[in-house]
């Protein structure tokens, strides 16, 4: 046995008081979970500590919380490891972010998470006619969507989605991973309609900023951001959907800039995504309008010295031999007959250990 101190974020909506921290010391083996620690505190000291929990084995998705500032399931985090990562030897547990707190560690998943799930038409729209027996589909396709099916709707990815923090309307990682479960399912009849809808929505697939938070937050290896990128590739490459938010071309502009220079030339990104891949595109009217509307952001960035005029005007280009290597990466990836998709159920990162 070892002693661990938990610092729990408490909030009683009926008291009229602000949230506060409360510490409890529990004794358990270091490989027991933070949830078991909280339950021991609840059992021994204070039955009013509020936390949703059920299975204790990371399958029901009830006990999503933030531990030392990081989202995870309480049952999926060892006390010993949590203590090591704490800032002062005390394991800090607080409710998930991006969702309103109801009581203590319990958040309102319905108001945010489930509302977003319902946004993506979360059911199979089956191809007709429905066969008498099963749909005959490739073996790989079912293994492939199993990665999205593995989502337990715990909300850990929603909790720390940076895009959602800035744009609360963003459909978000969990719901978009759910959308891939249908887009990747050969039995679904509405792949194009689903993708078009999610591409056209200004809070849809192009609202993600590739920050990887959801991938590191997910306790089940669903890797929501990967699923979002797959939705984009399906929309852009397979269905050639050019959305009115210009998300698809914006992404192309990134890729073409890196291919050309090896570095991201910020000054060229907007003109390119609104115009095209040539320097002349800068003068397209739609680019000018977008540039003008971006001026406040550009001014702020300059003021805060995130960018300097000198840095913007400096040529963005790698040395010739480095650029050659970048080009080879592009040739390799673009030269493949099939797109390689990362999926733990198929390739399995554990295979490499």
């Amino acid at each position: 046995m070892a002693e661990f101190t938990l610092r729990l974020r408490r909030y009683d909506p009926e008291s009229g008081d602000a949230p506060y921290w409360e510490e409890h010391t529990v004794d358990l083996e270091p490989h027991r979970s933070v949830l078991e620690g909280i339950l021991q505190a609840k059992d021994r000291f204070d039955g009013s500590i509020g936390i949703r929990c059920s299975c204790r084995a990371a399958i029901c998705g009830s006990c999503g919380v933030r531990i030392n500032g990081q989202p995870d399931l309480a049952c999926h985090t060892h006390l010993g490891r949590a203590e090591k990562r704490s800032k002062d030897g005390v394991i800090e547990v607080e409710p998930m972010g991006n969702m309103p707190v109801i009581k203590d560690l319990i958040v309102d998943m319905e108001a945010v998470h489930w509302k977003k799930i319902r946004r993506v038409t979360p059911w199979l729209i089956a191809k007709q006619p429905v066969p008498e027996r099963e749909y005959i589909v490739p073996r790989e396709s079912m293994v492939d969507v199993t990665q999205s099916m593995a989502c337990i709707q715990c909300g850990a990815c929603v909790s720390d989605c940076l895009s959602m923090e800035v744009d609360p309307e963003f459909i978000g990682p969990a719901a978009l991973a759910k959308a891939y479960r249908f887009v990747g399912d050969p039995r679904d009849d509405q792949h194009f309609e689903r993708l078009k809808d999610l591409a056209e929505d200004p809070h849809g697939i192009y609202d993600c900023t590739h920050c990887f938070q959801c991938i590191s937050a997910c306790p089940k290896g669903v890797a929501p951001m990967n699923q979002i990128m797959r939705l984009r590739r399906r929309a852009g490459n397979d269905f050639k959907i050019e959305d009115r938010n210009n998300g698809e071309r914006h992404e192309h502009a990134f890729a073409s800039l890196i291919k050309q220079y090896g570095l991201l030339a910020e000054a060229e990104i907007l003109p390119r995504s609104y115009g095209g891949d040539t320097p002349l595109a800068k003068f397209k009217p739609s680019a000018a309008a977008e540039l003008a509307s971006s001026l406040p952001s550009i001014a702020k960035a300059l003021l805060r010295r995130k960018v300097t005029p000198a840095a913007v005007l400096k040529p963005h280009r790698l040395a010739r031999q480095d650029l050659g290597q970048i080009k080879r990466i592009y040739d390799e990836v673009e030269g493949r007959e099939e797109r390689a998709e990362f999926n733990i159920y198929i390739s399995g990162k554990d295979e490499d250990r």
Partner: protein
């Protein structure tokens, strides 16, 4: 007052399937659960669902295996219904979106499972229950006009009208603490088993026997309660489930001498004998000093004999569980497991349409006892049970509602329950904590009402449970609030668990033979002459359990000696 044709309490597989079936039959439906539906314990069912869909298979073979698995205590008419409707139900699930694994030609793939004479188990990796539960919830979202959802509502009691017919339920909105009457022409209980009576258990914290106890308290008989399944492979340390799919994929069980000991107990089926047989074999090895791990209380499950690629594709969840909860990489080394409480074959007595002896009250899933599992449930038959009898209950209840007007639900029930909850909250802070009582219940049940039982131990357990019932009546809670007062709900759950535990114990004492999951050291033989019958428990006028018996329905399978 809310009023619906059909009220469903519990939103796991049985409840959601019932709701969808009732709505499709044209009824107005409410579905209520004390947790969000996808948190229901069906999510933990890992291995798969049985259905005779292979071209060389036939539902009668599935029924034969199930009858034998039940040690002839299962009702054969019910087993015939379940097995014959299984292929249609599996195809229905496939059509609404369950991502069942395919074989190389794109058809449903099937895996081997315990007690089955053929490969008959359709699966989604080792998250089959999760996949089906989430797909049914997709359908609930799709049909949200037809099915009204009450998520995080806790049913406190069933309501009977003046004729003794079920007329609805009282429930508490967990989020606000508000109490409501849910008036209904029919109520379907679908709120699961009572595994939390045991410690350890594979069951989730929510499996507290609410529905069994609520039915029992309004006079409904509960049946086969002595039949408690111990799963052969649960993590030695904390009782978490390791799917039977592991053995289905070829994993071995080894004792401390490195011996595949199942050779001695079930030379034909080996590791894939039925669960009661394998659990008993393991317990015998442990008791005779050939156990492994801490205090020799475990057995090795060796998954390393299964190709690694297959493990990662089809058994990924137990790779995670081994790594996260036992520090073991199952692809490289054996993992220490032991038999652990997993499932209750017993429950609220029903017929094949889910009807209980109380008019208007139905039950489906683990809460119910049809009885298709008899003395021992086969792996991958539980998902099937929930879906078949969930659907049949929903359809039957919907149809029944067409000819009825809404029964009267007396408002006094609401006041009584509100006062009862207020009284618990007001209890003085003396006596024992709820958690202490629950803990003692769990360890007692696991010690005396487990794989091997005898009169002395069972009697001891009964005394403990009677004492705990008294203490539970005075146990205090800390939380005095209305919003998410989980503490006071815990006190109610403890009461439900104690009812279930008592029914289990008195039935186990009464059954003086060994059959299925009940093995009596003092009565080690099966005794068809005396005991080929169900034990029914009803609550007597004095509140004490009363026993009676009912026939086992036999259609075409006469009891035989059971060997694997």
């Amino acid at each position: 007052m809310l009023a619906h044709d059909v009220l469903i309490i519990g939103a796991g597989l049985a409840g959601q399937r019932a709701a969808l079936a009732a709505a499709e039959s044209g009824a107005t439906v409410a579905i209520m659960s004390k947790v969000h539906p996808v948190r229901s314990h069906s999510v933990a069912a890992a291995g798969g669902i049985n259905a005779a869909i292979a071209v060389d298979d036939d539902w009668t073979e599935h029924a034969t295996d199930t009858v034998k698995g039940s040690d002839y205590l299962g009702d054969q008419d019910a087993i015939e219904v379940m097995c014959s409707e299984a292929p249609g139900e599996a195809m229905h699930l496939e059509h609404i979106g369950v991502t069942f694994h395919r074989n190389e030609t794109g058809e449903l793939d099937l895996r081997a499972f315990g007690g089955a004479s053929k490969k008959r188990t359709a699966y989604v990796a080792d998250i089959t229950g999760q996949a089906i539960l989430h797909v049914l919830y997709e359908q609930l979202m799709r049909h949200e006009v037809a099915v009204e959802r009450f998520e995080e509502w806790f049913a406190t009691s069933l309501i009977l009208d003046a004729d003794g017919h079920c007329a609805g339920a009282v429930a508490r909105d967990i989020r606000s603490g508000a109490m409501e009457i849910f008036n209904a022409k029919s109520v379907i209980l679908a709120n699961g088993g009572n595994g939390q009576c045991y410690k350890p258990t594979t069951n989730a914290l929510i499996c507290t026997g609410d529905g069994i106890s609520q039915a029992y308290r309004v006079g409904c008989p509960i049946m086969d309660m002595e039949m408690v399944q111990y799963h052969p492979t649960t993590l030695a340390e904390n009782g978490f489930l390791i799917t039977e799919g592991a053995r289905g994929e070829g994993a071995h069980l080894l004792n401390s001498e490195g011996e595949r000991f199942m050779e001695k107990y079930a030379p034909n089926k080996m590791e894939l004998a039925s669960r009661d047989v394998v659990s008993r074999a393991e317990q015998t090895e442990i008791n005779e000093g050939r156990g492994v791990g801490a205090h020799g209380q475990g057995i090795y499950l060796d998954v390393t004999v299964v190709p690694k690629k297959r493990v990662l594709e089809a058994l990924r969840e137990i790779v995670n569980i081994g790594r996260d909860f036992a520090g073991t990489d199952i692809t490289r080394e054996p993992i220490v497991i032991r038999p652990g409480q997993h499932y209750i074959m017993g429950g609220v007595k029903t017929d094949v349409d889910g009807r209980t002896p109380i008019t208007g009250l139905y039950a489906a899933g683990e809460v119910a006892c049809v009885s298709v599992h008899g003395g021992n449930r086969l792996g991958a038959n539980s998902l099937l049970d929930t879906l078949i009898f969930g659907r049949r209950s929903g359809e039957h209840a919907a149809q029944r509602g067409r000819q009825l007007t809404m029964p009267k639900a007396p408002a006094s029930r609401l006041r009584a329950d509100a006062e009862m909850i207020a009284a618990i909250i007001e209890r003085p802070r003396e006596g024992r904590r709820i958690s202490e009582i629950k803990d003692e219940l769990g360890t007692t049940m696991n010690e005396y009402v487990a794989v091997y039982r005898d009169e002395e131990g069972l009697t001891k357990a009964h005394e403990v449970v009677q004492r705990l019932k008294e203490q539970a009546g005075k146990a205090y809670v800390d939380d005095r609030g209305s919003v998410f007062n989980q503490d006071v709900l815990g006190a109610l759950e403890l009461g439900y668990m104690l009812d279930c535990a008592e029914a289990t114990i008195v039935s186990a004492i009464d059954r003086k033979e060994s059959r299925g999951a009940q093995f009596r050291l003092d009565h080690p033989e099966r005794d068809d002459e005396q005991w080929l019958k169900h034990i029914n428990v009803t609550r007597g006028a004095d509140g004490e359990p009363e026993l009676s018996y009912s026939e086992v329905t036999i259609t075409k399978w006469q009891p035989e000696v059971r060997k694997y």
